[in-house]
């Protein structure tokens, strides 16, 4: 089978706040019985409203969900294709370009970090790689010693993309990469993502709450509602012929301009 990633019956529970700290109770799962596959070279869009478990799903796939809450319970299976090293070959682009870059590190330190832990490159090789990647995402190499606060939101997201690409990953998880950006910048970042994924032959899981954005970039789309997958299929099929009530709502909520859907 050529699928890079297969998820079976994934369920994720957050511990509920309870009066006793001794027994932890789990309530309704944040992600409920989610199963899907990701094929090679494919862009899978995941759409859903805020709080429907999209980001939780993304963090679970990357295996970092327990970092901030060690008591999260995860059941089900997340299987990568053989030969995929989750730490090196799966990279994540975070939603907020402001908090996802360490304010005290220079660009070089930020972009270099994944290389330090996952490869055995020498210093010169790393520097070469960094300047290549910088150029690819449209940043000047002269800025390598600058700090993140000197950049705009869109540029910061480019840094985030550079950091994700530096290890030559096979899968990119983009967790709402454009939702924190100005509309005018969103298109630039989307185009950049589209370019790099063609160039590097990447598979991508693209998460958003905004249907047009997903429509633009993804081959297949999954609609999530309250932790469950309510609809999935080829993008144009799902959008052209929505079945679930929530999907219809999503489509009708896209603003129109002079009779054209945006």
């Amino acid at each position: 089978m050529s699928s890079l990633l297969e998820i079976k019956n994934l369920k994720i529970f957050y511990p509920q706040k309870s009066r006793t700290i001794i027994r932890r109770k789990f309530g309704k799962p944040a992600v409920d019985e989610v199963s899907f596959i990701l094929d090679e070279g494919e862009v899978l869009g995941i759409v859903g409203e805020s709080g429907c478990g999209k980001s939780t799903l993304a963090k679970a796939i990357k295996g970092i969900i327990k970092f901030n809450n060690p008591y999260v319970k995860v059941t089900g299976e997340i299987n990568f294709q053989e030969g995929i090293n989750c730490r090196k070959d799966v990279q994540i682009i975070f939603q907020d370009p402001y908090s996802s870059l360490n304010p005290r590190h220079t660009l070089k330190t930020i972009i270099e970090e994944p290389l330090l832990y996952n490869t055995t490159f020498s210093k010169a090789e790393r520097e070469k790689k960094i300047s290549e990647i910088m150029e690819k995402v449209g940043l000047s190499s002269a800025k390598l010693n600058s700090y993140p606060h000197e950049f705009s939101g869109g540029q910061r997201q480019r840094i985030g993309i550079a950091r994700a690409l530096i290890t030559n990953p096979k899968i990119i998880i983009a967790d709402e990469p454009v939702s924190a950006l100005d509309v005018s910048i969103q298109a630039q970042i989307l185009n950049l993502l589209n370019e790099v994924r063609k160039e590097f032959n990447l598979s991508m899981i693209f998460i958003a709450h905004n249907l047009p954005v997903v429509e633009y970039i993804s081959d297949r789309v999954i609609i999530m509602y309250e932790g469950k997958i309510v609809e999935s299929g080829k993008t144009d099929k799902v959008i052209g012929n929505p079945v679930h009530k929530y999907t219809k709502e999503l489509i009708s909520s896209v603003p129109e301009y002079e009779g054209k859907k945006l």
């Binding site: 730490r87 907020d96 908090s99 360490n102 590190h105 832990y117």
Partner: protein
């Protein structure tokens, strides 16, 4: 190309540079910092300005440097026992007009030196041109004792601050980073430890150990590391929930790397703004212990002992005024530094710049 980069480097870039610039704009704190630091640096060369040993002696055609070497009084044909007395030697030279000279420090009295033989009246002696701040009831020069006491006080306070911040930072970092049960139990332990009555335990410990400055610093550290843990723990909780920590984790950074490379540099604000106040607290702690007689062993010059002398000789105003005045001025200067640092590191005042 090259010049382009240089131009960019000139603007204050890092947050720290920005804050430093802001700190400099608070004149009161900035000048206090300069004064305290230069006095402290000078205090390490104190024997040049204040002390019983002459800087240079020329005696019978030979040069001597008593600052660095010990000379028996017999070397200079003095009829006293022990170390040579260079003030007497100077007087001798003046009388005999012999071809020699002595260069003395500005204040030619040691902090532990008993001057009973040279004083014409019974101590305590009031301020005069010879003894600017007078002498105490054992005939020791007060100015000399205050000067050496300054060095001991600041050194002690810095050592305790460094020790207790190291311990507190590390503990707070671990509590905030790992959270959960570890945090709950750790915090309860800190709360219990904080309720130990510090002064009584210090008195008991010092009567058992008869400590020197270093042991005293370690003992005080035992009771002063807790305060900073609360702040560092809180900072760590907040910083850990930011995405940059998560992204470091997802890149494969180890816990230690995340703690020390990512979170700690972003959690230092409370440490920096609390440091001056911790120093103030430590100076006061040493003064109170010395005042009670449980601090550094006599005859080490210390401010607390001077103040307790002042209390015993309350009618001799110079024994009260000068030590208290020096403690007051030092503490207030450091408080000014702390105030300005806190203001400069205030995140709300900083962003608009």
């Amino acid at each position: 190309m090259k010049s382009n980069i240089n131009i960019e480097n000139n603007s204050p870039k890092s947050l720290f540079a920005k804050r430093l610039r802001k700190f400099k704009s608070f004149k009161r704190g900035y000048y206090s910092l300069i004064i305290i630091i230069s006095l402290y640096i000078l205090s390490w060369f104190l024997p040049v300005f204040v002390g019983r040993n002459a800087l240079i002696v020329k005696y019978e055609g030979e040069y001597y440097f008593p600052l660095f070497n010990y000379y028996e009084s017999s070397v200079f044909n003095q009829e006293i026992s022990g170390e040579a007395n260079y003030r007497l030697l100077k007087k001798q030279f003046e009388k005999e007009t012999s071809p020699g000279f002595v260069v003395l420090p500005i204040i030619p009295y040691g902090p532990e030196e008993n001057l009973l033989d040279e004083l014409n009246e019974t101590p305590p002696v009031r301020p005069s041109s010879a003894h600017w701040f007078g002498t105490d009831d054992r005939g020791r020069d007060v100015l000399s004792r205050i000067a050496y006491g300054f060095r001991i006080s600041i050194t002690f306070a810095l050592i305790v601050a460094i020790f207790s911040f190291t311990v507190g930072l590390f503990t707070g970092a671990l509590l905030g980073y790992y959270g959960g049960w570890f945090d709950i139990i750790g915090q309860r332990f800190i709360e219990l430890w904080s309720t130990l009555p510090f002064l009584y335990l210090m008195i008991i410990l010092s009567s058992l150990l008869s400590p020197n400055v270093f042991v005293l610093a370690v003992m005080l550290t035992l009771f002063s590391w807790m305060g900073i843990t609360y702040y560092v723990r809180g900072e760590f909780y907040r910083e850990k929930s930011k995405d940059y920590a998560l992204s470091a984790y997802s890149a494969g950074a180890s816990d230690l790397k995340i703690i020390f490379k990512h979170l700690l540099p972003n959690s230092l604000t409370p440490v920096i703004s609390f440091a001056p106040f911790a120093v103030v607290g430590n100076i006061s702690a040493l003064v109170s212990l010395d005042f009670l007689g449980f601090g550094v062993p006599p005859p080490t010059p210390s401010w607390g002992q001077l103040i307790s002398q002042g209390m015993n000789n309350i009618s001799n105003w110079w024994l009260v005024l000068f030590p208290l005045g020096c403690v007051f001025l030092t503490l207030i200067a450091i408080v000014f530094i702390g105030e300005s640092l806190r203001e400069a590191f205030n995140p709300k005042g900083n962003e608009n710049e």
